[in-house]
């Protein structure tokens, strides 16, 4: 019996095989999507090691949820939704952690708050670290890194992954109008930042 040629199968053919635990099918899914999924997460968190961990987690979660996948949806959108939610959750959690150590909330003066603040070195969020990052060190990458997470997702899904507005709305779980608003504002911010850098 000749082995299955997984590369010739569509996503929807691969999903049930992978759901039954066929390594070849999941390996093919990984082959197709590891790069775009990692790419999205890496640009979101701007830390290669963390991005690999999150991307791994996204694929493992997707694999464990394969049996619940509805074939009427596009598989890649479903996978990106998992990856994006995971990444946004991580970023939000990191923001909360940062806020919680940013000085005592009940401090009544600036000096008091500064005195209770804990010094934290988080290289992934410092603007100068964006430039130091060789892979994402370009001007436009740096500007994307400065956007708020929802704007970053919108720009990356649209311009790197080439998703339509409808697919983006599905992945980001927001209305179509919100997607357009995110994208328009994100691009306007980027353009303004790049013009500012260019003008210096």
């Amino acid at each position: 019996m000749s082995p299955l040629d997984y590369a010739a199968l569509t996503d929807l053919d691969l999903v049930p095989l992978a759901a039954r635990g066929r390594e070849g099918a999941f390996r093919e899914i990984l082959e197709r999507y590891q790069r775009p999924v990692f790419s999205l997460i890496f640009r979101m968190v701007r830390d290669r090691e963390l991005a690999e961990d999150l991307a791994q987690e996204a694929f493992v979660r997707a694999f464990n949820a394969l049996e619940g996948f509805n074939p009427k949806y596009k598989f890649s959108s479903w996978l990106f939704k998992i990856a994006n939610n995971l990444t946004i959750d991580h970023l939000r959690k990191r923001t909360l952690d940062t806020v919680s150590i940013d000085g005592a909330p009940d401090a009544v003066s600036a000096d008091e708050q500064a005195g209770s603040r804990i010094a934290v070195e988080d290289s992934s969020e410092r603007p100068d670290a964006f430039v130091e990052n060789r892979e994402l060190g370009g001007r436009i990458e740096t500007a994307i890194g400065g956007l708020r997470p929802e704007y970053r997702t919108a720009v990356l899904l649209r311009h790197v992954e080439g998703y339509s507005y409808e697919e983006m709305a599905d992945i980001m779980e927001v209305p179509l109008g919100t997607v357009k608003t995110f994208l328009h504002r994100a691009r306007a911010e980027l353009k303004e930042q790049l013009a500012g850098i260019h003008g210096e």
Partner: protein, 318 residues
Amino acid sequence: MDARHTHLSPEHIQAFLEEDLPPQEQAGVEAHVRGCSGCRDQVESWREFLAQLNGLPTVAPSAAFSRSVLDRLELEPELDAATAPSASDHPAWEVLQEWADGVLPRRLRVRVDRHVQACPSCSRESARWKELFAAVNAVPVLAPTSDFSEGVLARVRSASTRAQEAQSPQDQVVTAPAPVRGPRVAVPDWIRSLRPRSRRGWMVAGGAIAAPGVALATLAALVASHPLVSMGDLAAFLWIQTTGAVSAVASQMAGGMLESMAVFWAYTLASGVVSAPLQFAAIALAGVGITGWAAWIFHRNLTLPSLPSLVGSYARSS
């Protein structure tokens, strides 16, 4: 009207370049751009910017990425002629044991599955392991005897007693002796069976025991506080009522009863009440107190006989 208001907004330009406007509006913007050099420059600037965004490359993960993901998953490995285990490739007996126990990782389990199917000796060996595991799993859980818990409690009590008895003489001098609650009364079983089983039962029993005393005390308080009634009036009233009732009963009974000691003592008591009502009230209140104290002793003896502290107290007092 300010000319700037007629120019295209960034949102309009973006939607125009992505052809996301209704056809009529798309045509209108196109016409405007042709006639407005400022907007034409803006559109060109946006077109270049969007092209730049579209040129962003994807970034590859490390070479070990897919292997790391696959290692975290329960996947069935693809076996072909080159990787399938041969019948002579026997697994170690520890592996076979884990396979029979169902704890082997999936990737290895699949390989052993196939080998066992193809190898009669490993098949027999694994069957023996499975029989052994089934026999061990079937060993019943053994229960202790019914008096096991009582035995443990008795040992705990006696250990507590010994610990208290082992106190040094010096300790016994400086330590205040625990209050002794009196000798333990042997209560018959039929009385124990009347013991309330719940908190509510105890409340009812306590109320029943205390009711006569409370009623008597309340009555005495009412009489003492009323401006027109004195204890003497009440005693006289009770005396009249009581003697009337006694006379009615007595007239129906033998005349010898009038000379009995009980009636003599009742008469003496009533006379005492009439002559000294306040002293009588004090004696009644004392009676209520003694009744309550007796009820408390009764309760302690019936419900808390096994507390180590009590056991210790009894042991020292005996």
